[in-house]
Symmetry: C2
Subunit: 200 residues, 2 copies
DNA sequence: GATCAAAGTAAACAGTGATTACAAAGCGCG
DNA sequence: CGCGCTTTGTAATCACTGTTTACTTTGATC
């Protein structure tokens, strides 16, 4: 006897979260840009003005969605390289670096629309992320590991920034429907080899 | 006795171009996203429907604007390294490569909104640009020059793509208001050194 | 000068973001 | 319980948008 929750309730229950999920679905479908608060409200069975109890305006919702993107990206990084874990060998350190690159690129390819939101109009500066997304920490850690096993020189700030922007560039281009590779894996690995060579 | 052209003429003269310029101004002002065809038409002294004689819809205008961005970028590349010219020494080849990188980054910083349009929703795939923008030719040429003077190994496709994406990544991050450097020149030069080291 | 395509107008339609005054739930507390 | 207060939703409304339609003006061409 599960109580049906959808019958004529004044309170939606969790409209804020529902709106964010709705927008994330739109992003997955590639139609985030023409998402309308009214249509969303209609689909969620709520009146047009209701959304404004949770978001100041449409852009505010977008910012929240962008933040979700950064959260998801961080979670993929954590899955690829649990932050508390450590490399045991130089081969291990290389693998971990590669895993990060794969995670970065895979995310941008899996979520091109969300990606553009994150690093576009509502990215970095306007979301709660500071100048560098929190994922920067994983990358940084990975580079330090590589240095420990003498795969590269100890990375200074410039080296870390270089590695970030190089991987970011690959991801950004990969998220474009116009740029596609026969074999992602090969391209990413070659890219990483170049980066490591630059830092050696 | 110059005839005043603005008095009650039925034909605007060159509305299509005027609309593109208007949008480019909006981009420079950072308000491209909320550009409205109606407001633009009003400001250009023309009725709301007039724009539709020249553009199928709003997105069509955006695509044209994005194309203008690629044109402008190409023109900056040409200014930095006239395509017909050639490097004479290895130092020359390095300088030319650096000039390209500077041009790329300067463009993205000067036109962040246009940049996002070009590489975002209306970029690459949807504009008339093919998978790789025409500027790819300059970069490619520059790398070949560097190889001629033994600064790097002869670049294959992977190497060229690496260089592009590395510079693209730097430009993309640079165009974000959240990422700024004390000294652009130093950062760009360091970045280029890393790239050249990777290709050596 | 008549003809005809190109380029503008005017009016309308559906849909949007946002604000307002009001109503209903949920809650804490005596 | 029942009283109040805050949160959350509603209904109505405003100004505005993209886009289409039927109609008019214009400029060029034979």
């Amino acid at each position: 006897m599960v109580e049906t929750k959808t019958l004529s309730r004044h309170h939606h229950g969790n409209l804020k979260e529902a709106l964010v999920e709705y927008a994330l679905d739109a992003a997955r479908a590639g139609v985030l840009n023409d998402l309308s608060l009214r249509q969303a409200s209609r689909d969620l069975g709520v009146s047009p003005g209701a959304a404004y109890r949770h978001f100041k305006d449409r852009n505010s919702l977008m910012r929240h969605v962008a933040q979700r993107g950064f959260d998801e990206l961080a979670s993929r990084f954590e899955a690829a390289i649990p932050f508390a874990s450590q490399a045991q060998t130089s081969g291990d350190a290389r693998d971990r670096f590669l895993s990060l690159a794969h995670a970065y690129v895979a995310f941008s390819k899996d979520n091109p629309t969300l990606w553009r939101l994150m690093f576009g109009r509502f990215g970095l500066s306007s979301s709660s992320e500071t100048a560098r997304p929190s994922t920067y920490e994983w990358l940084s850690k990975s580079l330090v590991e590589l240095a420990v096993f003498d795969v590269i020189r100890p990375p200074d700030g410039a080296a870390q920034f270089f590695a970030w922007s190089a991987i970011h560039g690959l991801s950004d281009l990969s998220s474009s429907p116009a740029v596609s590779f026969v074999d992602d894996k090969t391209v990413i690995e070659a890219h990483c080899e170049f980066i490591l060579a630059a830092l050696s």
